[in-house]
Symmetry: C2
């Protein structure tokens, strides 16, 4: 996974070897220090945003961004850290990131479903005649349900930010911003050895998860797999378990791609420290693969929201019909995202070998 050194650099080998004495601990602490600083800055911005909803949303997004990176990094590079301390921090950051992420997720889901309703009404082309009554009602119903969910998530997020649990997380991140609790070994191991080794392990876990995915089916366009359980009877409960079961390994791959991507950010730091020109292809392809799986998750959740809305009592048949079309459309997007991920992964593995 390390970038190959071109032959003309051989003359500079001595310099490189000298610089390569950078330790794993130094690089990892440097990266975590930056992310912790970002976290604290976003937290300050959030506090200062006052009644400006847009600023607050952006600050929360940046807060989650650093929280995910810190949690992901101490996960991948766990053996280099003081695990008693970082395991605890990681759990709390995952809680925070999920709690703060929900409001955004509901807003994005509503925007996605609204967009789909407009697309399905052919509003983008001149021949389109606007929404049907059913589609308009379905839109209003989703609007009501998802706005309510969003408002609740907003209150929960505000409550979380005011809790002592959150203050403890912020204190821990402040520690990270001054001195990262590392394992003693991290201060001795050369960065160029220890970090690629652990990133490689994260890569292997990802590759194994991807190998278990039905990529040969997903690679055939229009395989109609994602909707296979669109009308399957479910024993009880909210979410359609069959679709959820089908989606779960893809969601897991999404999380592993993200971990691998954060691991790469640390490696890129190390390569900068070691004055090796980082190969950007892998980072870009990991980003592409991750985006396909983000789209997979978003479409799957939007499809579930449409199915959930269709179970609202006393809705009109036309509304239910539109929600059925919407559900199938989003499952179609799920399938498209799997197809896109398959191609993305092919390019990624081709670049890595």
């Amino acid at each position: 996974m390390t970038a190959a050194r071109p032959p003309e650099e051989a003359a500079r080998l001595e310099t490189v070897t000298a610089v390569a004495a950078v330790t794993a601990g130094e690089v990892l602490a440097g990266y975590l220090h930056c992310q912790a600083t970002e976290f604290l800055r976003s937290l300050r911005l959030h506090g200062e945003s006052g009644s400006d909803a847009e600023d607050a949303t952006e600050a929360a997004r940046l807060l989650r961004r650093s929280a995910r990176r810190i949690a992901g990094t101490v996960h991948v590079y766990r053996p280099l850290t003081d695990v008693d301390w970082t395991d605890q921090l990681r759990t709390e950051l995952v809680w925070l990131s999920q709690t703060l992420g929900r409001e955004h997720a509901y807003a994005a889901r509503l925007a996605r479903l609204r967009g789909a309703l407009h697309r399905l009404s052919g509003e983008d082309d001149r021949a389109g005649g606007g929404l049907t009554v059913g589609a308009a009602r379905a839109g209003a119903l989703l609007d009501r349900q998802l706005t309510l969910a969003r408002t609740r998530a907003h209150s929960a997020a505000l409550q979380a930010l005011g809790s002592s649990r959150f203050h403890a997380v912020a204190d821990a991140v402040a520690v990270l911003a001054s001195e990262v609790p590392l394992a003693p070994a991290a201060r001795e191991l050369p960065a160029g050895e220890a970090l690629p080794h652990l990133a490689e392990q994260a890569h292997r876990r990802l590759a194994e998860a991807v190998e278990a995915l039905p990529l040969s089916v997903a690679g055939l366009p229009y395989n109609a797999e994602a909707l296979t359980h669109g009308l399957a009877a479910t024993p009880s409960g909210d979410a359609p378990p069959a679709e959820g079961r089908q989606d779960a390994p893809w969601h897991q791959a999404r999380r592993l791609v993200r971990l691998r991507r954060y691991a790469q950010e640390v490696l890129d730091e190390q390569q900068r420290a070691d004055e090796i020109t980082a190969e950007p292809t892998l980072s870009v392809r990991l980003l592409g693969a991750g985006q396909a799986l983000d789209r997979h998750r978003d479409a799957a959740e939007a499809a579930a929201a449409a199915a959930h809305a269709a179970r609202t009592p006393r809705i009109a048949p036309a509304t239910a019909y539109a929600l059925g079309v919407l559900h199938a459309d989003q499952r179609h997007e799920v399938e498209a995202a799997r197809y896109a991920f398959g191609r993305s992964w092919q390019r990624l593995t081709a670049a890595a070998t």
Copy 2:
């Protein structure tokens, strides 16, 4: 479009030239004679089938098969025929083929929608839990509506077969089976010149129609085009006009592929008569392209049937929801068929040049 003669055949050129004196009229009459004989044989089989529904269905299928070929052939090779006589025959054969085809179409549509409902309920995999209540009710509703339509089509077909209009068609086909009314020129023109020339014209009409299709969009998997009007408001009436407008040029291409395929069957006869080894690739690819467009038509009509059923008064929301999923699923199939046709057409044009 004619098959190239390998160089080693040069020695046999004299023989070939002698045989090439076969006239266009002879080849065309030979082909039409065979099809007319098939038509009359199927008609006899239909009469003898009595109460055996399966035999009657098969006989009707064969009857339509020859009727379509005769009508198509006298269309493509029109200038070689006595047009006053063949234009009239063609109109009547198209009427007959449509009247007899409806029963089969309704049966096939119901089978397609039932199959889709089962697929969507995940019945094929062990995790599947059977149909939802809505899906089961949607199936029952479609069953009722399409079985009723099928029964009506069956009566209409029987009535048509007993009509004096039909007897006139059968008489005309009997004429074709003994002596084909040709244009005087057809008895003089060499088959190897006149027939490929007219087939080429049919090919050009097809190529122009295909060029007007949005193949660059259709060639991108998951372009979501076919469902763009899935929820578009329609001023009034039964069929969703926006989807119908989008599908029409593809249906037209389907008819032109079929004409080109029948034209090729006559050319293959001519090449056999001229002792040229026919190149089967083109026929096979025309068949493949036609099958993709058949699937396009079938899926589009099944989607329309699901949408139509959803407008039944007083259905339960769960039924309407299932019909919405079914509609979107079939429009997804429409899109898949366009994608398949695009690839098929690429191979076809690659083979022709």
